[in-house]
Symmetry: none
Subunit: 242 residues, 4 copies
Amino acid sequence: MSEAAGKRSFSRRPRAERMEQIEAAARDVFSRNGFAAASISEIAAGAGVVEGTIYKYYENKRDLLLTVLQRWYESMIADYVDQLAGVAGLRNRLRFVIWRHLKSIKDNPDLCRLFYAEVRGSDDYYESTLYRLNREYTNVLMRILRDGMAAGELRPDLSIALVRDMIFGGIEHHVATFLARRGELDVERAAEQLTDMVMAGIVQPPPAPASLGLEAAVRRLERVAERLDPPARGEQQDTGPC
Amino acid sequence: MSEAAGKRSFSRRPRAERMEQIEAAARDVFSRNGFAAASISEIAAGAGVVEGTIYKYYENKRDLLLTVLQRWYESMIADYVDQLAGVAGLRNRLRFVIWRHLKSIKDNPDLCRLFYAEVRGSDDYYESTLYRLNREYTNVLMRILRDGMAAGELRPDLSIALVRDMIFGGIEHHVATFLARRGELDVERAAEQLTDMVMAGIVQPPPAPASLGLEAAVRRLERVAERLDPPARGEQQDTGPC
Amino acid sequence: MSEAAGKRSFSRRPRAERMEQIEAAARDVFSRNGFAAASISEIAAGAGVVEGTIYKYYENKRDLLLTVLQRWYESMIADYVDQLAGVAGLRNRLRFVIWRHLKSIKDNPDLCRLFYAEVRGSDDYYESTLYRLNREYTNVLMRILRDGMAAGELRPDLSIALVRDMIFGGIEHHVATFLARRGELDVERAAEQLTDMVMAGIVQPPPAPASLGLEAAVRRLERVAERLDPPARGEQQDTGPC
Amino acid sequence: MSEAAGKRSFSRRPRAERMEQIEAAARDVFSRNGFAAASISEIAAGAGVVEGTIYKYYENKRDLLLTVLQRWYESMIADYVDQLAGVAGLRNRLRFVIWRHLKSIKDNPDLCRLFYAEVRGSDDYYESTLYRLNREYTNVLMRILRDGMAAGELRPDLSIALVRDMIFGGIEHHVATFLARRGELDVERAAEQLTDMVMAGIVQPPPAPASLGLEAAVRRLERVAERLDPPARGEQQDTGPC
DNA sequence: TATGAATGAGCCTTCATTCAT
DNA sequence: GATGAATGAAGGCTCATTCAT
């Protein structure tokens, strides 16, 4: 029902307007109360229609919720690829994706909460348009990763999907307290740190022990060479005692 | 279990035993139907008591859910620290934490789903015992990270909390399809990959400093060789000493 | 009334009509069982609607009760003032008020019992419309009393409110056994006696001032007679002149 | 059960003590919450016993309420007649009864409210001990009234029962706002006014028109007598001109 | 005598959804 | 297309009372 957006184009305008009214009201009420506590009658009142009218446009309450979230995702995707095109370099692109995701959450915590709490994890999600949109959305990151891997910038043994999980999962976990209205969210800082961590990992790169052994070996060779031919040119090395 | 069909047939039991019966039944029913669709009467029937009895032990339906999940968390925490004590080395410990978390999810996907879908994200969560247990649980990882940082094994500029978010968030995102009964979960593989990714990041390390040193050393050796025997032949190899 | 047994058989009715149906059924059920023992489902069945319909018109069970009693009060007030306008003289008006109140109780003992037992004395009563109606109702008496006082017919030192309490309280106490189905109620007799008692009090009036004056006058006449004809006979009587 | 207060005298002490504890707790809880909202478990907790124990002493919750109110009535009756014996004169005695009743209400508004709201008007009341006590209590007034009537102090045509209704009903109506915690209660003032009103009624005793006519007639007769025999002795009268 | 675990019957209420107008 | 009255199922929860221990 909601998918069939406008069959007869000559009556499309009022229909689209009605739907916008309803969806705006629904977004408000759902955001404020959550799905279960939201009532169709309140949404109807907010949209200036009666309950029955809503069922002319949406199959049921849940369809309305999904539609509201769909609109959100559509708006998020709209200029995503375009904007990304202006960002060059693996790191920058990765950071952009992370930053943008954090920003979307910060800008619409209520919708985000709805999505996390009411939609994702439910059985019908994987058959929904919302799921397809979500895949489209996350695929942007996947492509960046694949490109980076093809370019040799990323380790070839990685599971791209797992990297995606780590990024979106990490973000989601990070914003949990913010979404629960129990903490702030510093988008810039989190984006920077997450990008950094994802890129470079967490371990302190130790002075590579392997090359130390090689170094030592080379030095011994050099000493040998020096005995044969004492240093006289420009390069300095620490030499052992005689 | 459902033999007690007689009228007013008591079966006075110690408090703990009754609670175990009820909680077992509740775990089943909640797991099967989710919170909303679970009915107290079904739980009561499963436990072999009447509905009223349940309210002697639990404030309300939600309290019962939280208690069931509490018991799960308690059991997860029970031997956690002990087991971890047997694991040495930052990487191993990190991998153990990740592996164990994945394993808990794989072993109890239903409870896990309940926790994600019904509890976390609700308003009362942050005041619940469950929240305290969850903090206790995640603190194990936090301590490992802090120790690793103190030992200089981890980069000192990290946000420990963000590392935790990335790990648990990454796991959660990764298991989503499994929890939705739409995919398998390879605990070992995921643990290994996640540990690796978290530790080392995703970028292809640029030719390590060691190899840089080797290059330099080789050049020096070439120069030595040139002194002994000016270049005349085509191929060069490192030869042993006399 | 209960013909509508078909599945999903609507019988769309104007709002007022539906409410009348429901209130009639409610009045019956409440009267028969009292508030607590009355069940919404029984009321709904009696009204030929389903339970949910009742909640379209009334907030809750109690609101329904209050509405039922409101209607009663409204009907009592409807022609009250008009009828009273046809009654002249303080005593007659007072008697009419008392008589009418007794009559209302006799005509609707069930509603009256409901009002006394379930509403008056509860916390929400003083905020209810019913309370306002009750004040309106009793104010009719108050005005009569005030008028009587202004006209000098009533003692000026009276507390009007206390007179009202004595009248309505007296009536209420008097009808208690009748309401408890343990006695009869003779409206005419009670109205007459109460009016009389309220008006004149209970004490035996000492020989009225008028008779005192008569006594004195007779004595004076005797003295006049003595002057004309000094006492010589035994018995004295008042004799005419000449 | 509660009526059989102490069969075996050797275990009476502890039994009586227990009952006192329970009744004290019950009085508190009933007073605070009313009958319906009072829970046996709260009463039990307040008395330091378990629910089951209460049923050893009282048949059921209502029996406990009636017992609590019985104790109150017993205490009210205890010294009633004695005190009244010290009051002489119909008016004084009547005022004492009214005053004492008002005072009892003021001292125990909660118990009074319970009695009015929960007991009186219920079906079992007329069979209860409480009813017998109440009759005993009101009979004190009835006797006063009968005595007053026999002594000629009260009008012989009164319905004693109706006078009682007017007094107790008037009091009850008057204290209603106080019991609803919405007004104060001035015992002395109310007692005085009510006594006065009951005794003397509300009408302004008019200068008896009948005796005025007689007076005038007598005066004419006196003027006749004066013409026959002009005034010369000590008694003064207001005489007309001429 | 005291305990206190267990009983068990019901009712109010909600609200998404339908469909006659 | 819009209306909005009516549906109707479903379930959490309470608490006085009982009775085995």
